[in-house]
């Protein structure tokens, strides 16, 4: 006897089977690998540094590392020189980068991209190679070994300039051109428009550029080694020697903590932590 099949009820199917999987898997689980990575390579090392900074060689708790640092005139002067070099480098970079970024952002043709590329391309070339190339040029002019401080600044500026140009260029390119037109419309000539509209509105770019230059140039001892004949003592160099030749990890860690705090303060001052409010800060300039 042949039995026939007949549908007795029909309803819309909304793919409910997946529900069980959805219930088990939350989107936030995707964050687990990153969490692990952070814990392993950021939090744990940081903890180690803090641990070493507040202990002595036998492992007992102490503040001596910090006391030693601030009572040593050599260490403190190293720190001040580092800050000084970073400040000068940042200022020179800004003075060169702003006009460059401004001119690049004004190019109308599609070819402007090539010019931008020319300024950014050095970032992709091996750092050591670039450093040695510049070193040879300085040597050619007979500067090497003589003007150590100047050489260091030249090296740093050469090295970090693209990091200053790029964020400023990006802010200028993204800026609403009608704002400049509005300024002209309201009676502002070129200079007024630049100082009252363009410059204040490009402050976010300047700030991120300055951070990208200031912070690494404080500790980039490779450049002082290459250009400054190792005669310009940066704090980065000091830390390196503590972990290397001096084998004083506790002192090295304390130095690292001091650097960390300085950087933290710089970020706080420039507002690097809050990206959104940056536009309103133009007034201060």
């Amino acid at each position: 006897m042949a039995s026939s099949v007949k549908a007795v009820a029909r309803e819309n199917y909304a793919g409910n089977e997946k529900k069980t999987f959805r219930a088990l898997f939350k989107r936030s689980y995707l964050a687990i690998p990153y969490g692990l990575f952070l814990a392993l390579f950021v939090v744990f090392p940081l903890f180690l540094i803090v641990y070493y900074a507040f202990t002595d060689k036998s492992g007992g708790f102490t503040f001596n590392n910090f006391v030693a640092f601030f009572s040593s005139s050599t260490y403190v002067s190293n720190l001040l020189i580092s800050i000084g070099i970073a400040c000068v480098t940042t200022a020179v970079c800004l003075l060169i980068a702003y006009p460059v970024a401004y001119i690049l952002s004004r190019f109308k043709s599609a070819r402007s991209y090539i010019f931008v590329l020319l300024f950014i391309a050095p970032m992709w070339i091996n750092f050591v190679l670039r450093a040695y190339a510049l070193r040879e040029i300085l040597n050619l002019f007979g500067l090497l070994g003589k003007t150590n401080f100047l050489n260091t600044v030249i090296g740093m500026v050469y090295d970090f300039l693209p990091f200053m140009i790029l964020p400023i260029y990006t802010t200028l390119i993204k800026m609403d051109k009608s704002l400049e037109e509005a300024s002209a419309d309201l009676g502002g000539n070129g200079a007024v428009t630049f100082f009252k509209v363009t410059l204040p509105l490009s402050v976010p770019g300047i700030v991120s550029g300055a951070m990208m230059v200031f912070l690494p140039s404080m500790s980039c001892y490779v450049i002082t080694d290459t250009f400054g004949n190792s005669k310009v003592p940066l704090i980065g160099k000091l830390i390196e020697s503590m972990f290397g030749t001096n084998a004083n990890w506790n002192m090295g860690s304390a130095l690292a903590i001091v650097m960390l705090i300085i950087m933290f303060i710089t970020m706080l001052l420039t507002g690097g932590f809050k990206g959104e409010k940056e536009t309103t800060r133009g007034n201060a300039l």
Partner: protein, 511 residues
């Protein structure tokens, strides 16, 4: 003498003379625009995007330099002046408020840059002048006044980013009017607002214009906005002015079918003048009030609200309702007459399928000159792959309907993709150039196909005659350019070479 001059010029505050702007890529954005704007007028540039209205405004503001032509402000050419030296202010499309300044500083931006000449008198009576900036108190007072006008008192210290779209719009207006410009330019200022806000702002702007008494030049693509606010509307298309006039003129007497189509809903028919104040369209002769030469081909525009529906047989032409939609105040119905659809707006509903008759008053029939470049007909394809139109049957090339297609032995069309299509009874649009129509005496042996009619008009056009042949049955017209001489009322046969008949599918054929 000088006073006379200023008196004369004060009438027109802005005059555009042959203003042209060609972009770097060769596109002509504005093409020889001539326009006079009176002092205190509310002028609106209206047109679809890319019509050149914004470019014209930007040239008046100074952001764009004209390729050629002049912009006269009070009779003086300002086209070379940079924007900051022009006594005009702009309200930008996206407001362009300075995000780093608060409301008061935004409004005060122009005032802080303003310099005025102050004349002092010494105690001995001698006078000297000094160029000064406005004092802080003066600026604050003007800012307060401007914010009051736009209804934003108490918002001085607010950051502009915390304001709503409508409020930002008001700040932008305050920032412009606070400088007391001679002309206020507004570039689609209400485009980003929602409908209700837009309606409110339209009225407020109109009110503001009355209060301030300065000239407003307004750019919009919204015809309703233009009709609501303007004293004068300038309709633009492809960089050229199509029509200039009061909202009422533009609405009631559109200069061409583009303006008619752009402003409000309209039915546009192609028609022929059949006599003095008589026009033929919808296969019927109507009385009208526009005088055009007899036999001239014209565009006939009828507003949907001007078409009256009556019971069958009682109006001018009978038809059938094919759709009816309730639109709030009225019903929008489509009445099919022959093959033509007429859109009708009426408060009384007629059901789909109802047999009705339409009536149009002579004064509601707007007639516009039509540039006549080709004969256009509606036709259909026969079983023999010929085409029937204009009361005649003509041999034609049906493969042009589908690129790359050909006919097989049985007469079916095979497309490039290899599909087989039966074209029998397919509706097509037919176009025949004026020079492609040959006329022959009817007495000579009649060829297969073609149409027969009488010559109703002969116009000498310098080196040739333009002859109109009208058929008997449906009074279809063939307009042709010929070098031979004919007489009026000659009976002729019309023949067209198959390759000269251009065909277009009316709609995609169901396969």
């Amino acid at each position: 003498m000088e006073e006379q001059l200023t008196c004369k010029e004060s009438e027109n505050i802005i005059e555009l003379v042959d203003l042209t702007r060609v972009f770097e890529d060769g596109m002509v954005a504005v093409d020889k625009v001539n326009l006079k704007v009176k002092k205190g007028e509310f002028v609106t540039f209206l047109g679809p995007s890319g019509c050149g209205k914004t470019t014209t405004l930007r040239m008046i503001a100074g952001f764009d330099k004209p390729t050629s032509g002049k912009i006269l402000l009070n009779g003086q050419d300002i086209s070379g002046l940079p924007p900051h030296k022009r006594p005009v202010n702009t309200v930008f499309q996206r407001y362009a408020l300075f995000p780093h300044l608060n409301v008061a500083d935004n409004v005060a931006f122009g005032l802080k840059l303003k310099k005025i000449k102050v004349t002092y008198e010494r105690s001995d009576g001698s006078r000297f002048t000094k160029v000064e900036k406005l004092s802080k108190a003066e600026i604050a007072e003007k800012v307060n006044k401007a914010l009051k006008i736009v209804d934003l008192e108490g918002f001085e210290k607010r950051s502009v980013s915390t304001l709503s779209g409508g409020q930002q719009q008001r700040v932008a207006i305050a920032r412009a009017i606070v400088n007391e410009p001679q002309i206020l330019l507004l570039d689609e200022p209400l485009g980003a607002l929602d409908l209700k806000m837009r309606k409110d702002m339209q009225l407020e702007l109109k009110e503001m214009h009355k209060k301030l008494g300065i000239t407003f030049i307004y750019v919009t693509h919204d015809q309703e906005e233009a009709l609501t606010m303007s004293d004068t509307i300038v309709v633009m298309k492809d960089g050229e002015i199509q029509q200039e006039g009061t909202p009422l003129d533009i609405y009631n007497e559109p200069a061409n079918s583009f303006v008619a189509d752009f402003i409000g809903d309209s039915n546009i028919f192609s028609g022929t003048m059949t006599g003095k104040l008589k026009v033929r369209f919808l296969n019927k002769t109507f009385e009208c009030v526009d005088d055009f030469a007899k036999n001239e081909k014209v565009d006939v525009v009828v507003r949907p609200e001007d078409v009256f529906l009556m019971d069958e047989g009682k109006g001018q032409v009978d038809g059938k309702i094919v759709s009816s939609i309730f639109k709030g105040v009225h019903y929008e119905m489509v009445c099919k007459i022959g093959k033509t659809e007429v859109v009708v707006q009426d408060t009384k509903e007629r059901k789909v399928g109802d047999k009705v008759s339409i009536y149009i008053r002579p004064e509601d029939i707007h007639i516009m000159a039509k540039e006549f470049t080709a004969n256009k007909y509606e036709g259909y394809i026969t079983k023999k792959n010929t085409v029937v139109f204009g009361d005649g049957e003509f041999a034609c090339d049906v493969t042009q309907l589908y690129p790359g297609s050909f006919l097989d032995e049985e007469g079916y069309l095979i497309t490039a993709e290899g599909e087989k299509i039966d074209l029998t009874d397919v509706d097509v649009e037919v176009e025949v150039g004026l020079k492609d129509i040959d006329l022959n005496d009817v007495d000579t042996l009649e060829e297969e196909g073609g149409a027969v009619g009488n010559i109703v008009s002969i116009i000498y056009k310098g080196d040739h005659y333009q002859v109109i042949v009208r058929t008997d049955e449906n009074e279809e017209d063939y307009v042709c350019d010929t070098e031979y001489t004919w007489n009026e009322n000659d009976r002729v046969s019309v023949s067209i070479k198959p390759e000269a008949i251009r065909l277009k599918l009316k709609e995609e054929v169901k396969r």
